[in-house]
């Protein structure tokens, strides 16, 4: 199992960046998820790690060894392609056996290993079909099987569950996770599904517009987003972000509301934006609780019923609607007033000019 290090790795196509200079260490045995919206450079990053795409600058190290210019076949990696890349003229079985045959393994052990992997991915009944005759989900499973059949130093997976239906995706998620724990193989996993990222990653690297926005544990990324993009992108719905004006330990919010900032935030806020200035208040839907004595007054805009809770959409003023989670017990008729309070440990603040989070412990 390998430690993978990216040092100022970048990729330009022509004059535009697909990935801006990027630093990242993926420790041996770690499961790192690259998460970001379409076109942010996830695939390009993965392809540079694999060697399928040449870097335009920077260095890639495997276990401290410089592999920047090494051919993919010399890096001992498995790659699950976003669009499967199955060998169209071979059956599923031949596809899966290919990496083992290429290494000249004995027939019997190949057959055994292929059966094993096929069973794990539940594709035994498809083994004699060609990719052209398989559904997208089945092709993806064959592609996964082809990657899993070997025991490489690292697994690189580019949206390996993207074509599966919801039910099977959950099962496969667990399967990949378990496999990772068993083999303890370094894994870089690309997805644009933040729920998948949070569920699977030891660490989540959030990318947007060719830049790494944040690199942290799922909890860090969720609770302490580094900037407005991450705050909005992670969670469904994302973090509530309200434009306000800070002065004298209070934030003036739309709808003539005033929120008293917890005292432990004062220093950090003064450092970041001064004693008087614009600020963005952020909180997750579950950080708010409806309370008649709450400081923030709103009107119920709409409500969505979910399985175990109700999501309230509350209107501070015409342009500001926040999402608040409430229990199933009470009814919230549309148009009625509702007040809420915030858990002081769960409020976050952002500087509207830099879009970066303000950190309580000082800004790095």
């Amino acid at each position: 199992m390998a430690t993978i290090e990216l040092i100022n790795v970048e990729k330009k196509f022509g004059s535009s960046y697909a990935v801006k200079p990027m630093n990242m260490t993926i420790h041996s045995g770690e499961f790192v998820v690259l998460l970001g919206p379409s076109g942010c450079g996830k695939t390009t990053t993965l392809r540079m790690i694999s060697g399928l795409e040449a870097v335009t600058d920077g260095q890639i190290l495997f276990d401290g060894k410089d592999v920047t210019w090494l051919h993919p076949s010399d890096r001992d990696i498995a790659f699950v392609f976003q669009f499967f890349a199955l060998y169209s003229h071979m059956t599923a079985r031949e596809n899966i056996a290919f990496p083992l045959q290429a290494q000249g393994e004995p027939r019997d052990s190949i057959r055994k290993r292929v059966e094993e992997v096929a069973k794990m991915l539940r594709i035994e009944h498809l083994m004699n079909a060609r990719p052209g005759g398989l559904s997208g989900g089945d092709q993806q499973r064959v592609a996964l099987a082809r990657a899993l059949v070997r025991r490489p130093a690292a697994f690189l997976m580019d949206e390996p569950l993207g074509a599966l239906d919801a039910e099977f995706r959950e099962a496969m998620r667990a399967e990949i996770k378990r496999l990772h724990i068993e083999q303890n193989a370094t894994t870089v996993y690309v997805t644009h599904d933040q729920i998948e990222a949070m569920a699977m990653g030891d660490r989540v690297v959030v990318m947007s517009a060719a830049v790494v926005q944040q690199n942290g544990t799922p909890a860090e990324v969720y609770h302490d987003p580094a900037n407005l993009f991450v705050a909005k992108f992670i969670g469904s719905p994302g973090m509530n972000l309200i434009q306000g004006h800070y002065a004298d330990g209070k934030v003036a919010l739309p709808g003539d509301n005033r929120y008293t900032v917890p005292a432990d935030w004062h220093t950090a806020i003064h450092e970041a934006i001064g004693r008087d200035g614009d600020i963005i208040l952020g909180f997750r839907p579950e950080a708010a609780h409806i309370s008649a004595s709450g400081p923030i007054a709103t009107t119920v805009y709409t409500t969505d019923l979910h399985g175990s809770y109700t999501m309230l959409h509350l209107e501070l003023d015409r342009d500001t609607i926040v999402d608040v989670r409430a229990g199933r017990g009470t009814n919230y008729p549309i148009g009625t007033p509702a007040r809420f309070d915030l858990d002081p440990a769960m409020v976050r603040f952002f500087d509207p000019k830099t879009e970066a989070a303000i950190h309580k412990g000082g800004n790095p």
Binding site: A85, S88, Q101
Partner: protein, 310 residues
């Protein structure tokens, strides 16, 4: 506008009539030019008949076929054609596919080079024959000089030597038609998606393993089509032989003198045309060739379907 406002004016022709108008001329032409000669010659192949003789065809049953299939003289022509087809098509496949592998990577001038290589294919076989006749000439042709023979007296006489003449035809055919194989191969090679090679690189396949397991099977359908086309052409080989050797030189085989490059088509031509003008016999021979070509085509098409379906 007007066609919408006055729809009835253009309704003279019903769909059926229109369809007939398009189809009938084609069908008539086809019957006159293809179907009738086909059937008439089939009939003639069972008769004793000469087109330059006023005597009407006389029914002789299978006599002509028996003669064509059993007489050593004709058997020789089939053997020459078979040997020629096998050698020539094999070499064309090797040279053509080899060239395609070299030209598949784009480099500066590769487009121009590809076009130049295609030129022989576009020339008239009669012209090619005439040119190569000179090129093969031992006293002033450049072919022997190119091979390093400077003395015209010891230089091989490609078109006159019974051991070399068929090879000479093969060389010209390969020169002329390998580009065709190259073209089909290039089309096949460039249709192989890059991601297959990316996957193979990840799967740590060696270059040879990739060639064997990905490149070859992926281009196989087109290679088979090339083989099919070239084999049919080789069986019909006529113009190059006429231009180069005229079927000669002759060689004493046992008690019979045979022409070493006389392919079936050349023989057929000699039989059918004056002075011999054995119309019945030559029709029978032509039908034998037709059956052989259909049989070979069927084999290839079966192989093709097998490659496609696995």
């Amino acid at each position: 506008m007007s066609s919408y406002s006055q729809p009835t004016r253009r309704r003279h022709l019903g769909d059926k009539r229109l369809i007939q108008m398009f189809i009938i001329p084609t069908v008539v032409l086809l019957i006159l030019m293809n179907v009738f000669p086909l059937i008439y010659s089939l009939y003639l192949s069972f008769t004793e008949y000469s087109a330059i003789n006023p005597t009407p065809p006389e029914w002789v049953g299978l006599d002509n076929y028996k003669k064509v299939l059993s007489d050593n003289l004709y058997w020789h022509n089939f053997a020459v054609t078979g040997r020629y087809a096998l050698i020539s098509v094999s070499l064309q496949m090797i040279v053509g596919f080899g060239l395609a592998m070299l030209l598949k990577e784009k480099f500066k001038g590769s487009g121009l080079l590809t076009t130049l290589i295609l030129v022989p294919m576009m020339l008239s076989p009669a012209v090619v024959g005439a040119f190569w006749k000179n090129i093969f000439n031992p006293s002033f042709g450049i072919f022997d000089q190119f091979l390093g023979y400077s003395d015209p007296n010891t230089a091989p006489e490609w078109l006159g030597d019974p051991d070399l003449a068929l090879w000479a035809v093969v060389i010209v055919d390969v020169w002329m038609w390998s580009p065709f194989v190259m073209l089909l191969s290039l089309a096949g090679l460039s249709a192989i998606p890059d991601y297959l090679y990316e996957a193979a690189a990840i799967d740590r396949a060696s270059a040879w393993f990739q060639f064997r397991r990905i490149t070859l099977p992926q281009v196989m359908p087109l290679l088979l089509i090339a083989v099919l086309f070239r084999t049919i052409e080789a069986f019909k080989q006529f113009d190059l032989v006429m231009g180069l050797t005229g079927g000669g030189p002759s060689l004493l085989q046992g008690t019979q003198a045979v022409n070493v490059t006389e392919t079936v088509s050349v023989k057929l031509f000699r039989l059918a045309m004056p002075p011999q003008a054995q119309t019945g016999l030559s029709s029978a021979m032509a039908y034998v060739v037709l059956v052989i070509i259909i049989a070979i085509s069927n084999l290839y098409i079966r192989a093709l379907n097998k490659v496609r379906e696995g």
